[in-house]
Amino acid sequence: MAKITFDGIEVEVPDGTTILNAARQIGGSIVPPAMCYYTPLKGSGGKCRACLVRVAAGSTKDPRPMPKLVASCVTPVQDGMVVENTKSEQVLDVRKGIVEMLLINHPLDCPVCDQAGECSLQDFAFEHGVSTTRYREERRTFEKIDIGPLIQLHMTRCILCYRCVYTADQISEGGRVHGVLGRGDAAEIGTYIENIIDNDFSGNVIDVCPVGALTDKTFRFKQRVWFTKPVNAHRDCPKCAGNVTLWYKGKDVLRVTARKDQYGEVKEWICNECRFDKKETADWTIEGPAHIERSSVISANHYELPVLNQSVIADLPESTQRDLEKNPPLKLG
């Protein structure tokens, strides 16, 4: 076990844990943002540099600070390590720079983008970005590419996080047809001679994309995500675990996705049959509303009842306490 201090909070984690995952054990708003790191994908992380943190003391053995900021998603903790994240001006400054870099080519087309509302870059820019850009040059644009009948690649929005590449490599069968072509800012996600990705798990590349570069063609432009209602459901699936989230508009299932945790990472991969073909309520056993983080725009409609900590009620203003008495929350934590 290794004891580390993260923004002044001490936490003990097993050896080999990364700084990011140690921070996730503390949770809350001090967790560094991650655009390219994705726990289930081996080899992911270290690329976007969004999660850079300052190591003010390397370890008990060698308490010297690390000379450069380190990518918290790929750097393992050492016993006695002291990490500064939100408490370091340097880190916050660099994050502004990273947002600016990522937004050089990524268009701010959130009003028409299907990822709006569940976009990591949108959240990252909201928390760390600035409202203006200093970039005067021409931005790069691409034609949209259909990677098979179900997925569309909108390369203009891609931030080259490589998550979809790792997904296609690691969970898909049938050989590699998909990867990064070109170098530098000419790099792009591509398929082998415009090949399609047509295996049973290809739809997962949509779920891992942190921005709106890979979109579900069966859902495109059907609805804004915050007007849909996420409901957990499962079915007996011969290919995958069949645990999914159904996104309802009224009685219609508009979209099926894998279930994700609070960091937007899928808990279990789902197959294309569950994702694209099973869009009737009758196909599923409904479990109940999916948990959505309160900070998410999707939670604006309060599909899930609020969980209120009993101990804080006494500290609330009297008028609020009276309201709570009249309309008590169903769940008390």
């Binding site: 992380g45 270290g46 690329k47 976007c48 540099r49 969004a50 850079l52 450069k68 900021l69 990518a71 790929v74 750097t75 393992p76 660099v94 720079g97 990273i98 600016e100 870099m101 990522l102 050089i104 080519n105 200093r134 970039y135 040059e137 931030i159 080259l160 490589y162 990064v180 070109g182 170098r183 530098g184 800012d185 000419a186 790099a187």
Partner: protein, 446 residues
């Protein structure tokens, strides 16, 4: 005349053949090491010599060797980084093409010291003719029993391979090199783990530059202490400098570290002064990635001391008034050089060569190049100058590998020392955009 340890026999006819090379003392270090020394003793000699990596970073070679993990029953590798491609640096190419057996000898002795039974020379793909020279030398070494099974009856086995790369600058970064050697796209790896723990095929690996490995036979033959007597302070031994630019005698020079920069530029033994009798304007002392210095700061330090060709003296004053020895790519620029155009040229290179894996380098190198392009072509704005500094700062230190720094340092240093020239490109945009236009003012001392 300074002593020449590596290139003493470089002009001997037929020195690229085993026979002639041996007549001039070749392969003595292999015989000495394998027959009379333990691997640890060889490492100890290299430590004593104070040899520092000649590829650019200047890390002590012996110390790097001693970091190598040595788990039982697991192969270890030595990889020679012959992917030299920094603009201004061309000394390894010469060393390999003229003295291939020196590198092969160094590889055998070093591999023995590290306990590697398979070693690789990763060479830049464009250097096909050098690859053939090395392959011939390796074949000769196999035939003479210096490579293969049971070398010189010592019980030590070594196979040596030359592997041509795809010609990407990034493949000179040690972890990208290992990826490329494994047959993958040459993208740098996140560190840790370092190659000494998990390198080639996830095995403990040492990656050394050609010149570093070529120095090992000399160290083993003469002893580390003798080697350490040459040079100055912690900059021991000799170093090859590839001098280019506006010099009377550009070329590759082996010098004893500690030679004054002024002597290197102006003496007839070395570069012979600035061509056409012109004035020196600036120097990039260690390959295009290191900060540029104006004449006033390259000849003397900020304290007025003579600047020496050594790791410490060149970096004296940090990046405010100093630079780096780097890989020894010494680029001299005379008074007719447009610093903005030159910086744009360097920047174009790093933009082209960025692997595109991490966001600050992928987006930042392109941004720098585009802003410099605008400034040079008369479309710049005054705020662009601070923008360059700011973008360079956003890249520096925040990338997976040092290519980010290599792209950021030249730009930041050019603005630091020649800001008035950048401003002139904005205030006299039309004039500055003319071919051959050069600012006639003086460089500003930091």
């Amino acid at each position: 005349m300074g002593r020449k340890l590596l290139t003493e026999h470089i002009n001997v006819e037929g020195i690229d053949t085993l026979e002639v090379y041996r007549k001039h003392g070749g392969y003595r270090s292999v015989e000495k090491a394998l027959k009379t020394m333990t691997p640890d003793e060889v490492v100890e000699e290299v430590k004593k010599s104070g040899l520092r990596g000649r590829g650019g970073a200047g890390f002590p070679t012996g110390m790097k060797w001693s970091f190598l993990a040595k788990p039982e029953g697991v192969p270890r590798y030595l990889v020679c980084n012959a992917d030299e491609s920094e603009p201004g640096t061309f000394k390894d190419r010469q060393l390999m093409s003229k003295l291939p057996h020196l590198l092969v000898e160094g590889m055998i002795t070093s591999s023995y010291a590290l306990g590697a039974n398979t070693s690789y020379i990763y060479i830049r793909g464009e250097l096909l003719y050098v690859l053939r020279i090395l392959e011939k030398a390796i074949a000769e070494a196999y035939a003479a029993g210096f490579l293969g099974k049971n070398i010189l009856g010592s019980g030590y086995d070594l196979d040596l391979h030359v592997h041509p790369g795809g010609g990407a600058y990034i493949c000179g970064e040690e972890t990208a090199l290992l990826e490329s050697l494994e047959g993958k796209r040459g993208n740098p790896r996140n560190k840790p783990p370092f190659p000494a723990v998990q390198g080639l095929y996830a095995r403990p690996t040492v990656v050394n530059n050609v010149e570093s490995i070529a120095a090992v036979p000399v160290i083993v033959n003469d002893g580390g202490e003798e080697y350490a007597k040459i040079g100055v302070g912690r900059s021991t031994g000799t170093k090859l400098f590839s001098a280019c630019g506006h010099l009377n005698k550009p070329g590759i020079y082996e010098i004893e570290l500690g030679l004054p920069v002024e002597e290197f530029i102006y003496s007839d033994e070395y570069c012979g002064g600035i061509w056409k009798g012109r004035e020196l304007k600036a120097v990039v002392a260690g390959g295009s990635s290191v900060p540029i210095l104006p004449k006033e700061l390259i000849l003397k330090t900020a304290a007025g001391e003579p600047r020496l060709m050594s790791y410490e003296s060149l970096s004296d004053g940090g990046f405010v008034t100093g630079t780096m020895l780097g890989s020894g790519g010494f680029i001299a620029m005379d008074e007719t050089t447009c610093i903005v155009r030159n910086t744009w040229s360097f920047s174009r290179f790093y933009h082209h060569e960025s692997c595109g894996q991490c966001s600050p380098c992928r987006e930042g190198t392109g941004w720098l190049e585009k802003v410099l392009h605008r400034l040079e072509h008369g479309h710049g704005h005054m705020e662009d100058i601070d923008l360059l500094v700011s973008v360079a700062k956003q890249i520096e230190g925040n990338t997976i590998c040092p290519l980010g720094e290599a792209a950021a340092w030249p730009v930041a240093a050019a603005v630091r020392h020649f800001r008035d020239e950048f401003e002139w490109h904005v205030t006299h945009a039309k004039e500055a955009a003319q071919p051959g236009a050069v600012y006639q003012g003086k460089a500003v001392l930091a």
